[in-house]
C-alpha cells in the first residue's frame, strides 16, 4: 500500500481538516480558558452542574451532539436564525459549522487539561501579585496564564487531535460537502462505505494518525522547552 498515493480529493479533505481543526481550537481556546479558570478557582453554587455541562459532549454520542447543533444553530434554529439575521453568520453546509462541531466535541478535553494546569499554579504567586498592585484580571494575564501555558498547550493539541478525528457531529450537523465540510474522517467514512474502499480508508486513517501523533509529539517537545525555561 502506497500511502502517498493520495488523490486531489483526499488532499482537499486533509487541508480542510487541518483548517477546520485549527479554527475549532482557535475559537474554543478563549472560552475553554475562562471555564477552566472558573472551575479551578471559584466556588459557587451550581459549580458541579457547570462541570457536568462541560462534560456533556464527551458523554453524548457525537451524532446526537450534531443533531442538537442542527436544531440550535441551524438556519431555523433558535440561536442559528439570530446569528444569521444579526451577524450574517451561517454554519449550515459550511466549514465554519464543521469547526463548531469539532470545537464542541473537543471542548471538554481542552477544559480538563487547562483546568488541571491552572489548579497547579500556586495561589501564593497570585497573592504576591495582588499585593504588588495587580488586579484579578492582570494576575490572570501575567501570572496564571503564562504559568499554565504547558497545560493550555496540551489542551490545545488534544482538542486539535480530537477535532481532526471528529466525524459524527460534523456529518449530522453540516453534511458532507466536498471542499466545505468533507473533512478527513468524512472522506474516510465514505471510503469505508463503498465496497473495495478499504484501501483508500486505510490510507486516510494513516494520514489522520500521523497528523494527530505529529501534533501530540510537537506539543510534547514544546512543553518540555517551556518547562526548561521555567526551570532555568
Amino acid at each position: 500500500m502506497d500511502i502517498f498515493a493520495l488523490g486531489p480529493a483526499e488532499w482537499q479533505a486533509i487541508r480542510l481538516s487541518l483548517w477546520v481543526a485549527l479554527w475549532a481550537v482557535a475559537g474554543s481556546l478563549g472560552p475553554a480558558i475562562a471555564v477552566a479558570w472558573i472551575l479551578a478557582r471559584l466556588r459557587f453554587p451550581g459549580k458541579t452542574l457547570l462541570d457536568g455541562l462541560v462534560h456533556l459532549p464527551l458523554v453524548v454520542p457525537p451524532v446526537v451532539t450534531g443533531y442538537l447543533l442542527l436544531v440550535i444553530l441551524g438556519r431555523r434554529g433558535v440561536v442559528g436564525s439570530w446569528l444569521h439575521d444579526v451577524f450574517g453568520l451561517n454554519f449550515m453546509f459550511d466549514w465554519k459549522g464543521a469547526a463548531v462541531a469539532s470545537a464542541v466535541v473537543a471542548f471538554p478535553l481542552m477544559v480538563r487539561a487547562i483546568r488541571q494546569s491552572v489548579e497547579a499554579v500556586d495561589v501564593g504567586l497570585e497573592q504576591a501579585a495582588r499585593t504588588l498592585g495587580a488586579g484579578r484580571w492582570r494576575v490572570f494575564l501575567t501570572i496564571i496564564l503564562p504559568l499554565a501555558l504547558p497545560g493550555v498547550l496540551a489542551g490545545l493539541v488534544l482538542a486539535f487531535a480530537r477535532g481532526l478525528g471528529e466525524f459524527g457531529a460534523t456529518i449530522t450537523f453540516v453534511s458532507n460537502i466536498p471542499g466545505q465540510t468533507r473533512t478527513l474522517p468524512l472522506a474516510l467514512y465514505s471510503a469505508l462505505q463503498a465496497p473495495g474502499g478499504e484501501e483508500v480508508a486505510a490510507r486516510l486513517c494513516v494520514v489522520a494518525m500521523v497528523l494527530a501523533l505529529g501534533a501530540l509529539l510537537a506539543s510534547e517537545l514544546l512543553s518540555r522547552r517551556l518547562a526548561a525555561r521555567l526551570g532555568g
Binding site: D122, Q127, R130, T131, L132, G133, A134, P146
Partner: protein, 235 residues
Amino acid sequence: MFLAKLRKRLGELDLEVEFCRDAPGVTALFGPSGAGKTSVVGMLAGLTRPDAGRVELDGRALYDSATGVNLPPEKRRVGYVFQEGRLFPHLSVRANLRYGQRLTPPGQAWADFEQVVEMLGLEPLLRRRPGRLSGGEKQRVAIGRALLASPRLLLLDEPLASLDAQRKDEVLHYLGRLRGRMAIPVIYVSHQPEEIVALADAVVHIQAGRVTARDSLELFRRRLAAGEAHSAGGA
C-alpha cells in the same frame, strides 16, 4: 500612621490582636509557631478577611468592619515579603522587580529602581531566573520587588526562616541597610530573637492569637537576658 485591630476565628484559634506604629521603624511580631503571626500579616495585606476590626494606614481605612470597607490587596499599597519568596518563576529577576513598580499609580512612587538594586546588591542577578537563585538571593529579590511597588507599609514574614546561617547573615546585612533608609513602617515577623535584636524598634509578643506583651527593643533585650523570651518561643 498605621493601626490594626483584628479579630478572626481560625479553626481552633481565636485570634484577637491590636497594635500600631506612628513613626517609620520596625515592629516585630514575635511568637511561636501557630501563634497566628502569618494570619495577622495576611489580614493586613488584604489576603484574608478578618471577622471584625479595623486596619488604618496614613489616615485611610484599608478595612473597617463598622463601615464595610475592605480594600482588595492591590489597592492597599502594602508590601509583603513572604516566607518562601514567591518569586514569579517565569519572569527574570528584573521583570520580577519591575512587576509592582509598573503598577504604582503615578505620583505615589517613591522607590527608585537603581537605588533599590544597589542597596540590595541585585545588579549581578538582574538577568537570571528565580530558579537559578540561592535562597538568600531569592529573599533579597523578594524584598526588592516589594519595595519597588512603593508601599506605605512593609510586611516581612520570617524572611530568613528558610536560610542557612551564612545566607541569613547576608540578608540580615541588607535588611540592616534598608532599615536606616526607609520612611515607612515595617512589620517584621520572626521567632528568632537574634533577628529581632538586630532589626526591630519595638516587639509585639503574640501567643495563641493574643498579644501577651509589648516591648521596646531595650525591654526585649533585658527579657532575653533574663531568659524570658525563650519561653515565648525564641531560642
